[in-house]
Amino acid sequence: MASIVSVNSLSVAYRSGGQDVPVVHEVSLDVAEGQTHALVGESGSGKSTIAATLLGHLRHGSRITGGSVEVSGADVFALPARELRQLRGGTVAMVGQNAGHALTPSMRIGRQIAEAGGDVPVVDLLEQVRLPRPAELARRYPHELSGGQQQRVAIAMAIAARPKVLVLDEPTTGLDVITQRSVLDLIAALSDELGLAAVLVSHDLGVVAHMADEVTVLRSGRVVESATTRQLFAQPQDPYTKRLLASVPRLDDTGLAVVGEAGEREVRPRSEVPVDAPVAVSAQDITIDYGSTRAVHGVSFDVRRGEVLALVGESGSGKSTLAWSLAGLRTPSGGTMKHADGDLARPAQQRPLSLRRRVQLVFQNADTSLNPRRSVGDAVRHPLRFFGTAADRPEATERARQLIADVRLDPALADRLPAQLSGGQRQRIGIARALAGEPDVLIADEITTALDVSVQADVLRLLDDLRRERDLACLFISHDLAVVRGIADRVVVLRHGVVVEEGPTETVFADPQHPYTRQLMAAALEPDPDAQPYVDDTADWADAADGDDIWTEHGTDGHRVRRWRPLNAPVAEGAL
């Protein structure tokens, strides 16, 4: 088959401090018509840079230092400005990572789509990306749409002029699993329908296994390995690829994976939580309101010492709100939240110091939660002094270095600024800072979401080690079921602020009972093109919790499910 995209030993360099820093080094790849080619790699691998060159785009300060990019027979970087503009949108179109940022805020979406050219009416395009009430939607502004809707609009914009090649740069990274799945399905359907070739940039090997025909693995701007998807996932050749694949948490892992140098994988079994472990935090019937909207309705849970309890759900399920409330950043409007040392149902500044230091939060984004002008050693030392866990300055400095060593970092890093550390190192500092107060409860709010997969594996293992060593009660917030499967002892599934299912991780994953849990499981993507996906065979359903009759118990290990009933079930016919 003829290749429509052909990248020939492309090199790109970035000019910094009077020197050329190479970001892409002699990369070659071909994409055949109608095929999807994935570029996989961790941050800094140059995958997005390569993808953008297909549209003749380079970041400010970058330039081509060698090679060429041909799309549909034309050398992209040799095109005159006018023809380059026709190529963009006309032949190649791009869907970016964050549609919320990719749409112009001051312009109605209908006009933004119309601007992309092509003869297809805007309303038809919006219909094609399965958006409801397209005529009305076209008159809206981007901020009036949800994240999933915005990404659909970005896709409509990309296919408006009926291009031949679609460049997808992390198209679903900011979306939760269920929305991700539906957007990916939409892209796959449209690619088939319009006969599009696609270049998919992703760090998520599950997405790649699901979407791509061929894969190129990149590392520091060089090609590590290139193969068909099936071959790459079944028999990776390069040790780096093997390590990358082995680092991805799987839905059927019964613990955290430990990955060796050559990519061998061993699953470390979870440590048993002693039956008599004391309860560290107990939440009963918590409700939390934002103005007149109720974010959390009557949620109850206990976390015991040495136990990891995962809160799972898509965005808007109230899981982060609960975490913030426990940390004292938002007062619940109802219910009780108790710690062995006192009442948690009040804001952090009203908690006594002794209680405050017992419950600590690790933020999702370590890069924005650390003061950029303060050394990371200072960031860890400050709470030591504040909570009085270190008597004087020299002791605090010593303890801070010890804490940095405890999170498996070199204490010499203490003098660095956050910007001088990698994402994984910053997140470890975030954990060290939380540990400074000697907490017994640690709240981890999506702490690995922004990290590369191998770094994520390390941070998860660190968290697991720390809770064993320090007997921590850990509330782990995540939307990633595979991650949760590896680390959590128990799972609470939240939907729209309501608990729909809870129980021991093994039981819930082996036999999910609530249709929403099943839907989440079905939407999760495994890094294996031949994976037998979990099939969600439940039709529509409705909540059937009624008064005090809320739960259906399954077994004796605490696995319980909120009552629900199927809609349009055959039973209904007989009943009528």
């Binding site: 990719a102 749409l103 112009t104 992309a116």
Partner: protein, 318 residues
Amino acid sequence: MLSFITRRIAAAVGTLFLSSILVFLAVQALPGDVATQILGKDATPDAVAALREKLKLDRPAWERYWDWVWGALHGDFGTSLVSGKAVGGEVSMYLGNSALIAVVTVLFAVTGSIVLGILAGLYRDRWPDHVISTVSLVGMSVPEFVVATVLVLCFSVALPWFPAVVLYGPDASVSQLLPAVWLPALALAVVMAAYIVRMARTSVIDVMATEYVTTARLKGLSTWRVVTRHALPSALLPTLHVIALNVAWLVGGVAVVENVFNYPGIGKLMLSSVQNRDLPTIQAIALISAVVYVVCNLAADLATMALNPRLRTRGRTR
């Protein structure tokens, strides 16, 4: 949205009310009152008392404040102590002359500096940016009377294109004043432009680096379209307030420049009223300056709202 506008307007009225009190109190706090000013140092206490009664100065301050505000609302600011004419008419005549400079300055300085700022932002770190940034910085650093003097030297003395000073009184017609407007306007524009250029440049650079501008470029749109449709509406938002502050600053800024050119505007009137201790006129000018400031900022806020759909559509449900 409506509630936002109403709240904003209410705040503007409140600000004006407070500033009218401040202006009135400040003038009250000056040693001596209108009666002593009129009669001079050697007046007998009896004469002063009689004049006070005639001018109703013997009544409590709040009553006089109320009379003043009530009058001001109807365009009556009292009588000038120097000319004996109505302050309202006098001030509006000078103000009209200044407005002529202001309009010319705003038209050229604001449009010019926005265009220059956008150019500097688009050609960031290349020669147009360097030239524009350097020149505007120099303009910002040099005081306006120096700029005005240099302009006179260049365009009145060396090249006799424009008059160096105005020989007409405040009642001159627009056509008489028009030739004299350009140099003062240019002097003000040079000083004012720097702030607007720098603000516009920074926000254009910020906006041009956003993902949505990149997306618009990668849609294959022309640079012109990308800049005018996608970048400018967002880039102008922060610039608007700088423009508003600068336009308001003009009211005070003209004082120096008008004196250099002997231009019969509000700045000149202000200076002479202060020298002559013409209290009603000072009071009127102070109040009018406050009005200009408040109106300019209100206009900037409302324009921001019009340009920002997040504010415009607030309250609309998803």
